[in-house]
């Protein structure tokens, strides 16, 4: 397996706009995706995230430019779709599916031994070696997504594009998917750009976040970008990913912790103080400040961005592009 870290392209979207049927879907999108990084597009439904990816892979015509660094050559790109259009009766084996893009010999003349061993290697990479002889239609949601990831990794991509690759997968399956993806990116050194709605996992694994709602609302390291005020603008509901960024004036419902107008009951300041103290103790016990996963270093972007909301607003890459 080669490591493409040297040649991993960085992307630059320069005033990308797209209208369809009079509707402005993308409006002067200016964004970047660092080479070798894990960039995640975050935003509500209909914000144009998938559309932006389709522009990137040349599936849709757009105004503006998308430049890819790293010479004239187009980067070797792989794509992980949300799902496949097939019904359960299709007797396609996982090994055959992985060979589709790899061997010229038609499937009706059988799999080459090399294609077989390649399929086995790829499946090991996504922790799915037991599925080699399974039918594609018999896979669970999580297994299918991992096989799709394997098919994309088979191309040894320099640029990997993923469109909500783990949507509809259970918590454990989605976590495993992100973990495998992160491992593969570190091993192969590709640039990754994906759409996701799972904010906690984005905060944990992404190195660069683009908040998109037809236009770019904020961009930068997750810690500096996924702050409650940006998420409020983006989704219209209060979301707090980082406890220290919670507004102490709005402590939320003392029973369930929910924040918002409906929950503005009498705050229990003593409880908040206790919670805060406990959190600080956990933070002090771990070196990198990530209490969720001790023993695993936080992603580069998250670690380097120990910034609060005020510094995010003034930092060059965390500021608003609107």
């Amino acid at each position: 397996m080669t490591n493409n870290a040297q040649s991993a392209p960085s992307l630059c979207f320069d005033r990308v706009s797209l209208s369809r049927g009079g509707n402005r879907i993308l409006d002067n999108v200016c964004a970047t995706a660092p080479g070798g990084g894990s960039t995640v597009l975050v935003g509500p439904n209909g914000a144009g995230k998938t559309t932006l990816l389709l522009c990137l892979i040349g599936q849709l015509a757009y105004e503006g430019t998308i430049c890819v660094s790293g010479g004239e050559r187009k980067p070797r790109t792989a794509y992980v779709p949300q799902t496949l259009s097939m019904d359960r009766s299709l007797p396609l084996r996982v090994a055959e599916f992985l060979a589709l893009g790899r061997q010229r010999r038609p499937l009706w003349l059988g799999l080459r031994p090399s294609a077989r061993s390649e399929a086995r290697r790829l499946l090991r990479m996504v922790k799915a070696e037991h599925l080699e002889q399974s039918r594609m239609g018999d896979l669970s949601g999580g297994e299918l997504r991992r096989v799709l990831l394997a098919a994309a990794l088979a191309r040894e991509p320099e640029l990997l594009v993923l469109d909500e690759p783990a949507a509809g997968v259970d918590v454990r399956g989605e976590r495993l998917f992100w973990e495998l993806l992160d491992e593969a990116r570190r091993a192969q050194g590709f640039t990754q750009i994906m759409v996701s709605h799972n904010l906690p996992l984005v905060a944990h694994y992404a190195t660069h976040v683009v908040c998109l709602n037809k236009t770019v609302c904020a961009m930068g390291a997750p810690r500096a970008t996924l702050i409650s005020s940006t998420l409020m603008d983006l989704f219209g509901v209060p979301i707090h990913l980082y406890p220290d960024q919670c507004d102490p004036q709005d402590p939320g419902c003392p029973q369930c912790g929910a924040v918002g107008e409906g929950a503005s009951l009498l705050p229990d300041y003593a409880a908040i103080k206790r919670r805060e103290a406990a959190r600080l103790a956990v933070m002090a016990a771990t070196k990198d400040g990530c209490a969720v996963c001790p023993g695993e270093s936080a992603p580069a972007g998250a670690a380097s961005a120990e910034s609060t909301r005020s510094s995010a607003e003034t930092s060059p890459d965390g500021g608003s592009h609107a």
């Binding site: 779709p81 009766s89 055959e96 893009g101 010229r104 038609p106 499937l107 009706w108 059988g110």
Partner: protein, 287 residues
Amino acid sequence: MPDFSPIYSLISLIPLDCLQMRFMQQALLGLLLLAPMASVLGVEVINFRMAFFSDAIGHSAFAGVALGLILAVPPRLAMPLFGVLVGFGIMAVRRNSDLSSDTVIGIVFSAVVAFGLAVVSRAEGVARDIQQFLYGDILTITPGEIGFLLLLFVALLVFQATGYNRLMYIALNPVMARVHGVRVALWQYAFAGLLALVVMFSVWAVGVLLVTAMLIVPAATARNLARSAGGMFWWALLVGTSSAFIGLTLSAQAWLATASGATIILVACCWFALSLVAARNSGRRRA
């Protein structure tokens, strides 16, 4: 004109009375070329969910004949040409429009059938053409047409050898296939063109009412019986070809004396019923 007499003498070795006549030998040869093509393309038709597409092309045969009448082109030339045009047309609209593909096909379908009926209602003496269009008439196939089928057979063999994997990829997810280096548009148009040609010849063999069956039934049977995507190809081939052979010889028996096209499809449907039982059993084993 190629000489098929060695093949005919080979066919006459089969100890069946009905196969001693030249027109039956020609019909069998024609079917043995056509049935494998149709059944293998059927695998892809099912993958692409394009059964309705092939039906629409089949019905455009009628409009093709009508157009041939107007332009004084022999119907057997006008039919396939028009079918290919309609196939490309549907594919182009399907690729470039937001309408769902069955809506697009439904519109084209209605247009071509209405056009055919309108022309035929004005002209006289086309009753026989309509009869042939509806029920098929493989027994009147000419050596020239067999020669053309042979060419088509070779083209389709090359197409399946180079395109089977790619078409499967496109059917699963066209965007992924394109990003991963498959020339999606080229393969889709090539598929539509070849499918249109095969459908036109199938109209001739089994009639427009049964043309979709000739594509779909062997492939659906193969889905039930095959254990892999490669096996699906061979099962479709086996079911399609054996149905054609058994159906043709059965229909020529004095005690049955049925239309050959319909008999072929009935045999294929028997295959399908058997495959359902087999699939249920293997499903029980897997569960």
